[in-house]
Subunit: 594 residues, 2 copies
């Protein structure tokens, strides 16, 4: 069975490119060393490949259901595998020791967790949502809340969720109607319905801690009136809170993760004989979306990582298949009775493998780069550097979420295609990857939402400082590559410089039309173009690291870079023409003519 | 529930564009009229939407299985719906009256059948495979074979299959090992294993007629040594032939169609107490692939039609959803408490709908155009015209198969995206369309195979006459559009002329390198580029038909054409650069570096 991820690639990116060892010189990570990093990576690979990957199909084929006792039933292997994860302390990888964590750099933790995402995405979502939930509370909760909720979350005794969407309000959080009314004891009573809540109900842990976006009376309309509540399934004294499972959603993929419709305060339970679910305010009223974005930004990079991991697993599976499956002969073969060759000998199969390689390795590098920025932001020497790094991360986040979601899904489609008819069957792994991955362009903000975020907010915030940070970062790489020994690398640098200039021009032109609706009409194309430019830059970075190094691995990096610059980068230009001209074909389309 | 296909669009394409009424002036279709055409279309729509569409989910959720008695179990609704189709005489739509058919033009029959494909692809494959099978036998069978097999096939008492692939030989038919040995009585005895046989076993009919590619002793190696056999499940005297179901394949989609691994002559049954399955030679020995291509070319347009139909159903479902689902506000809305708008008001949703519209209506038009060519070929006034039309059809066939398979699958992905999280659930229809459609770029020749077919054979056959026929056809449209009143149409004509010139140049350059392996290294890109150029031409044709006509429907055609020319056509240029330069990035990639 093919490995779901490449240890060698992780080492290349972490140690040869991102120099994560240098982080151990910083106070925050001083107790760590290459040895402790490697130990966590090896431990994760071991548990993921032995206790998660073997049950990936099982979780898909045995979808969660509600048993006659009203409890959600999951296969036992899911529970026991997650227990192994918890027992190894991996839930606490990125948490401070004060709450029971390991204080690992985010970049190392992200790399370690990628083993689980690549091995069994449906299973790994339970702990990962919990970590995101606990991170938010560790940042914005009171000391008492941290003691009550964060500790058991990090210990894996409780799991967590994020409850944003409602049946009538998905992308538009301004329209949520779940409300929370202050009670006399300082708590709140929450009433409403939340939709698409992953891990919203299960029996894996003794409690489930929901972080719930609500409206509290007196708030402004729209997103400025949103508050954030902790609403646990069980109150600290053991009372059953009024959070009720209404139904499980039946999905195309990602089936091992329960996805739920939850009622809050529908009267099924009446804690202290009062209506409504008991909620505890996080931070201040009406600042809920600000806090939630803390979790969402992390979750968005997590979605990008999930998409990447599925793409990576599919790539390696199809690579292995292409090496052993024989079929056909070279285009210039003369003798029809010559033996068939492994399909990896065919140019078109190599094209499909190279495309996958350029997508999944590019996505992994981007996800790790962004995680490294999180560490830089947390440990920056001064405020100016922290601001710069934070801005850069803000600009890259919609790309880190969306680009892998689009292109690693495409990688999964190519992995099926390499397998031919076998790839379309459930006897092989790749069809599940494709189904699982189709979720990623939807949740944590659709593609369209991230396009609006990037062009409408991120590149213009702080007077354009975010875009400037990106341009300076990419330009520095271009400068270094301009003097590279390898002529191909120098060509790539020139090509990237041009594409970056096109991006800047298109941004300026789009914003010069004086009508935000027109500016943003082609925001999704802008997102795609910016994504391809960022990944081209990521590949140029990898080429520079590989420069002068010998061997198949480095040759592979050079080849994937060449593929990306020749086959992929040219797609950008026309997209930016549409953005820069603020084309109104879609904006002005009359709904009546469809 | 949204209609799965548009009656209005069919009428536009058939009567306003393709002028199918004029076919009734030809001897072969003289008994037909617009009234009989419309009657078949309405009958098909009625049965498809009432007896096929309501069971599309049912067939997906209740996958065929082998019962304890060894028989394949399918939901009853599938059997009764297909019976309705048979009872209405629709199996015989395109057959001659001499074998019980209606003698309909292919183009009308194709349009009628699209209702079934759009309503329930898994169910409709049983009759469609039967029709393809019977067409082949009607063309190449002896009078006795036609009486024995074609009649009951057209009557729907027997169903048919095509058995090409084997476990070790999918794309490479040269490597099949199933063999047939002549018996003393003029029949053959067939031994071997066939894989991916759709409708290979079921209890829907009293017999199943397999058309099986085999090797007969004494044949040349490779595809020139292939013969074609009729191998029925039951012999004419009722004896059980030695065709045995080994297993059902479990697929990601298209589940209502059984897909089987079949053994021929494994000894489970011994007709006349001799080993091997009894087979009847079709035509002459060693010409089997020639005959099979008769069926395959029809099947390939059928696959394109299936992909189109799924894309069309998804487009209409997402269009309906976008009109009723409210979410968010326009980009320039100032008041966050204003009511949310239907999502079809958002530019990015309109983009996703326009893209779908341009893909699925473009694909439908192409499929019908090719079907019209089949009719032209069958009724051409002279040999020169028949040759021209046949060549054009030969060139268009790989595109008619592959382009809808690629872009109507993309349409299905966009239909999910328009639905947001709901689209990812099995409570809605679009996720199934997406799963069902993923098969189409694989079967009846993968994308890669059709790229090789187009660039390696079709555009160079007969001294390039196929490409010339295509270029002349497109150029004639460009000429007409050059003088169009609408400036946008004139721009499209100019753009298409340039793209066509690029295609011709790239073809010549690719073939000028003197190394077929290099010429064909980027054949898949060539296929995609040629496909986009053909669909751009199809849109220009539709624009010309709509010119000067008022109303939402025609405005919609103009808008979709505009979308295609602005957003899609520009993708072609870079693909042709790669083809023309015979780029060797993929060809020379060393498998060791992946």
């Amino acid at each position: 069975m093919a490995a779901p991820l490449s240890r060698r690639d992780l080492q290349f990116l972490l140690y040869e490119w991102l120099d994560v060892e240098s982080l151990t010189a910083r106070t925050e990570f001083a107790e760590h060393s290459r040895e402790t990093f490697d130990a966590v990576l090896e431990l994760s690979e071991d548990i993921a490949t032995k206790r998660f990957k073997p049950f990936n199909k099982l979780g898909d084929a045995n979808e969660p259901y509600v048993g006659p006792d009203g409890k959600v039933v999951l296969p036992d292997e899911i529970s026991s595998g997650i227990n192994e994860f918890v027992k190894a302390g991996l839930m606490g990888g990125s948490f401070d020791e004060s709450v029971g964590g390991m204080s690992l750099p985010t970049v190392i933790n992200r790399a370690a967790m990628a083993w689980f995402q690549a091995s069994n995405p449906g299973m790994s979502s339970y702990p990962f949502l919990t970590v995101g939930n606990a991170h938010l509370l560790a940042e914005y909760g009171t000391p008492e809340q941290i003691e009550t909720w964060v500790r058991p979350l990090v210990e894996g005794r409780y799991f967590g969720t994020m409850c944003l969407s409602e049946p009538q309000a998905g992308s538009s959080l301004a329209d949520i109607t779940t409300n929370a009314v202050p009670a006399a004891d300082g708590t709140y009573r929450v009433t409403g319905t939340k939709m698409w809540i992953s891990a919203g109900e299960h029996e894996l842990t003794e409690n489930i801690v929901h972080l719930v976006l609500v409206k509290v009376p007196g708030g402004a309309p729209g997103v400025k009136g949103i508050s954030l509540m902790i609403v646990p399934k069980f109150l600290p004294d053991g009372t059953r809170n009024d959070v009720e499972l209404v139904g499980l959603n039946h999905k195309m993929g990602n089936r091992a993760t329960t996805n739920t419709l939850l009622n809050f305060g529908d009267g099924t339970h009446r804690p202290a004989d009062e209506p409504g679910a008991v909620g505890y305010l996080v931070g201040e009223e009406h600042r809920g979306l600000f806090y939630m974005f803390h979790m969402m930004n992390e979750a968005r990079i997590g979605v990008g990582s999930m998409a990447m991991a599925l793409g990576y697993a599919g790539y390696l599976a199809s690579l292995e298949y292409a090496k052993v499956r024989t079929q056909g002969r070279p285009a210039d073969a003369k003798d029809p009775s010559s033996p068939p060759v492994p399909i990896i000998e065919h140019a078109d199969v190599k094209r499909m493998l190279l495309a996958q390689k350029s997508y999944v390795e590019g996505a992994l590098a981007l996800v790790l780069y962004c995680s490294r920025l999180v560490d830089e932001s947390a440990t920056a020497a001064d405020a100016a550097e922290r601001d710069r790094v934070t801005l850069l991360l803000d600009v890259l986040t919609p790309i880190a979420k969306s680009w892998p979601s689009q292109w690693c899904l495409e990688a999964n489609s190519l992995a099926i295609q390499v397998h031919g008819g076998y790839g379309y069957t459930r006897e092989f792994d790749v069809e599940q990857y494709y189904r699982d991955n189709r979720l990623n362009p939807i949740h944590e903000g659709t593609h369209g939402i991230h396009g609006l975020d990037l062009l409408g907010r991120k590149v213009v915030m702080a007077g354009g400082a975010g875009l400037t940070a990106l341009v300076e970062t990419i330009s520095a790489t271009v400068e270094r590559a301009t003097t590279a020994e390898n002529a191909e690398t120098r060509d790539h640098a020139a090509s990237l410089r041009d594409a970056l200039a096109d991006l800047v021009t298109a941004t300026r032109e789009a914003w010069s039309v004086g009508d935000p609706a027109r500016t943003l009409a082609n925001a999704s194309l802008y997102l795609e173009a910016a994504g391809h430019i960022v990944i081209a830059w990521i590949w140029l970075e990898q080429e520079l690291v590989a420069a002068g190094k010998q061997g198949d691995f480095y040759d592979g990096k050079r080849l994937a870079a060449q593929y990306f610059f020749r086959y992929e980068s040219p797609k950008v230009r026309q997209q930016l023409v549409m953005v820069g001209s603020a084309d109104t074909t879609t904006l002005e389309a009359d709904p009546a003519v469809f």
